[in-house]
């Protein structure tokens, strides 16, 4: 059974046309695309900010919008918990009263969320008497998440909640978000333009570009396909490989990734076991044969599945058990005669790897 069914067409005065259809069933779905692709418009239509020209939106078999039948539910009756990009806390209310605002107008929904539990899980106790203008960006987002939860929503919607935060903070907020979803089991639609965020938390991704859906699937599949990655304003693919197992040895740390061993630098192992390694495609070297006598620790064997030429570079997708992308020069690609199906070895220095918790 699908949680949300969305099918809408709209044309803005600016000429931007939106024609998006998708269904979400899983717990955490990411709506992913570059800026200006129409992600936020989709969110606004679901939230009820404006009625589109044509289409329907259904949430748990409840019709929120149906232009043919003339149904348009007011935002206050949609039972959605929206976390906006800049949190939008009410500036004249304390954190505590902001949270209570979520509870105050809760409809007789099936979900009851305890204020004390939200304060505990999101670690808000110290913030309660403060006013929003005294909070940091990350704190604001936590409060906004708590406030949305306390309205007892059938679905959480987050509009680029991490866009204005710096990297270490992003990781922390994602952890809070994961805790929230685990604790209350709320279906979540997460809008983002960051591949790393999608890979980190989403179970399903819908890729949007120029007002249309250009792909969907499990993140490790959908985001390693060339189609969704060829937008002109994108920085290209991101390598984020899932760690299946990790073991610390006397002088190094070994991770199991896609059935192969990967050496990680010892110093970087954080207290909590990391779940992904991240590295830029330009840090991968490709070789047709396995070469000996190199300082490079990681030699991962795989098979080329896509070769994609962009302006001054060639992106090569290699299946090593998971998909990784290498960025090489056009000359190198010609010389190595890389085509889909070629067996290659990916060379990866241990110190070029970043661990992502």
């Amino acid at each position: 059974m699908s949680v949300l069914s969305f099918h809408c067409r709209h044309r803005y005065a600016s000429g931007f046309a939106l024609d998006v259809s998708f269904e979400i069933a899983g717990r955490i779905t990411a709506l992913f695309g570059p800026s200006g692709s129409g992600k936020t418009s989709v969110l606004s239509i679901i939230a009820g900010a404006f009625p589109p020209w044509q289409g329907h939106v259904r949430l748990n078999e409840r019709t929120l919008l149906d232009t043919e039948k003339g149904v348009w539910l007011a935002p206050s009756r949609r039972n959605l918990g929206v976390v906006f990009q800049d949190a939008l806390l009410f500036p004249h209310l304390t954190v505590e009263r902001n949270l209570q605002y979520g509870q105050r107008y809760r409809r007789g929904g099936r979900r009851t969320v305890e204020l004390s539990r939200v304060v505990e899980v999101l670690e808000l106790a110290a913030l309660l008497p403060r006013y929003p203008h005294n909070l940091s960006g990350g704190e604001k987002q936590r409060v906004a998440l708590g406030r949305a939860l306390l309205s007892g929503p059938e679905m959480l919607m987050l509009d680029e909640p991490l866009a204005s935060l710096d990297d270490p903070l992003k990781g922390r907020i994602l952890t809070y978000l994961e805790r929230t979803i685990a604790e209350w089991n709320v279906p979540t639609l997460f809008v983002t333009h960051s591949q790393a965020e999608v890979r980190r938390i989403a179970e399903w991704v819908v890729v949007v570009d120029q007002g249309r859906v250009v792909g969907s699937g499990r993140p490790e599949d959908a985001l390693t396909q060339p189609g969704p990655l060829t937008w002109t304003n994108s920085s290209g693919p991101v390598n984020l490989l899932r760690i299946d197992a990790i073991a610390a040895h006397a002088d190094h740390v070994a991770a199991r990734i896609g059935g192969q061993n990967v050496f990680l630098p010892l110093a970087t192992l954080p207290g909590r076991s990391p779940s992904f390694i991240q590295f830029r495609p330009a840090e991968v070297s490709l070789s047709r044969q396995d070469v000996a006598g190199l300082s490079v620790r990681n030699h991962l064997h795989g098979r080329v599945c896509h070769v994609l030429s962009v302006e001054h570079a060639v992106f090569v997708a290699v299946d090593i058990g998971q998909i990784l992308w290498a960025e090489i020069t056009p000359q190198a690609a010609r010389e190595l005669q890389l085509v889909p199906g070629t067996d290659v070895t990916c060379l990866l220095k241990a110190h070029s790897l970043t661990l992502v918790p």
């Binding site: 007011a74 206050s76 959605l80 906006f84 939008l88 009410f90 605002y101 105050r104 409809r107 006013y131």
Partner: protein, 227 residues
């Protein structure tokens, strides 16, 4: 001060208070609508609201007099149905002051609502608050400084209202003779200059006080009061 002056002061306060309070709900409604609406007829409402600002007060007063006279279109209804007489009573003075102060009040309130991020209202609505609840819990509290400032401005304007008042309410001592009317009357009497000066000084004091309060309220950003 003489009994005459006291009566003018008391009457001025009564008229101004009544005018500013009676105009407030409508000014809040119109101010909010002007701040948020995007429809084509907006300029027309704006023009009508601002008309008393540009018309000679005597002309506004004359129009009100025609409308409210016992045999005028509105006056007749009030007279027959409710037995209320407006013209040449202090009610008339209050009404004239209200109309004259209304554009100032609407302007301040409108600016205050324009400064409230409409997305905060959307956030409240997604949390389940209906239109009215959103207005009273989010929009109005966030605009409250501008609302109070607008009220003070209209109150101050009403204290000084002369042209429209004298047309609608006349200049009856103890009933409709407010401070400005008293100053006018006294300045026409050969021995009234001393009294007139006292009222002039009082008037300047009151107006400066009101203006200062209004300025103070508008200048401080609305977040500071909370902390």
């Amino acid at each position: 001060m003489s009994a005459e002056e006291w009566s003018a002061l008391r009457l001025s306060f009564q008229v101004a208070m009544c005018a500013a309070l009676a105009g407030l709900p409508l000014a809040v409604a119109v101010g909010y609508w002007l701040a948020r609406a995007r429809c084509g007829g907006k300029w027309l409402i704006e023009a009508v609201v601002n008309l008393p600002l540009v018309l000679p007060p005597v002309v506004t007063g004359y129009l009100l007099l025609v409308l409210l006279a016992p045999r005028g279109p509105i006056g007749a209804i009030l007279q027959d149905l409710l037995g209320i007489k407006i013209v040449f009573t202090w009610w008339g003075a209050a009404l004239a002051s209200m109309v004259m102060g209304f554009p100032l009040m609407v302007r301040a309130i409108r600016l205050a609502f324009q400064a409230v991020d409409p997305r905060l209202e959307m956030a409240a609505r997604t949390l389940g608050a209906g239109g009215a609840a959103t207005f009273f819990t989010i929009s109005l509290p966030l605009a409250r400084r501008g609302v109070v400032a607008g009220w003070v401005l209209a109150f101050a304007r009403s204290l000084g209202e002369f042209g429209a008042t004298i047309m609608v309410a006349g200049n009856i001592e103890g009933q409709t003779r407010t401070i400005p009317l008293a100053v006018y009357t006294l300045s026409n009497q050969p021995d009234g200059m001393g009294q007139a000066w006292r009222l002039v000084a009082l008037s300047v004091l009151l107006s400066c006080g009101a203006l200062a309060i209004s300025e103070l309220l508008e200048r401080r950003p609305s977040q500071d009061v909370c902390a």
